[in-house]
């Protein structure tokens, strides 16, 4: 339960950072659910079309770095 809440909090943090401060996006989404989804999908579409490969590259680099960091930690723990 706490993990789920943490994850949702993380997503909300990302959205709060992405969306300007003056916009109460949660109220807008609750009030207009379908248009909000459409706007999000269209935004995602254009981002994916324009900067998709760069974002995928950055994400894969980040994931690979995290994986190697965790593996290093595990190996160093085992070595100790």
């Amino acid at each position: 339960m706490s993990e789920l809440q943490e994850r949702e909090g993380f997503v909300e943090e990302i959205l709060d950072e992405l969306i300007p401060e003056g916009v109460d996006w949660q109220r807008l989404v609750v009030r207009y659910p379908i248009p909000s989804l459409l706007v999000a999908a269209v935004g995602g579409f254009f981002i994916g079309r324009r900067h998709g490969p760069e974002i995928v590259g950055a994400l894969s680099t980040f994931v690979a770095g995290e994986v190697s960091r965790n593996v290093d930690q595990l190996l160093s723990r085992e070595g100790e």
Binding site: V11, L15, V29, P33, L37, R49, P53
Partner: protein
Amino acid sequence: MADLKDIKSNLEDGAETAHEAVTDGVDAARKRFQKLGDQAQDQYQKVSEQVQDRYKKVSHDVRRGAERASKEIRRGAERARETYGDVAETAQKTYTQVRSQAGNVSREVSLYVRDNPAKAVMIAAGVGFLLGLVVRRGSRDDEA
């Protein structure tokens, strides 16, 4: 004098004979003409009857054909009307069903979005992002 009388009587006989011959000839000719006329009339009547019979037969056939065609057309129109009615009814039912289902889906999506706004927005953005990537790749492949 006697000679004159003989001549006169001969002439009278001859005239009478000629008159009889002409009368007979005229009678014979009249009879023949009448016979010919009767034959022609019979022939004409026969031909006329035949023509009338044929006309009646043809007109009967045409009337029967027209009646049959009219029946077929009426039957076809009825069938087309029934088919149109069935198709319209099915289309109406399908439209109502699809509308109801779309309404249900929209309500469920709205509920989910209200419960989890951040997750829903991120999922929508992610789906859009993936679609954008796919479209970009497709357009690149087309250009290549």
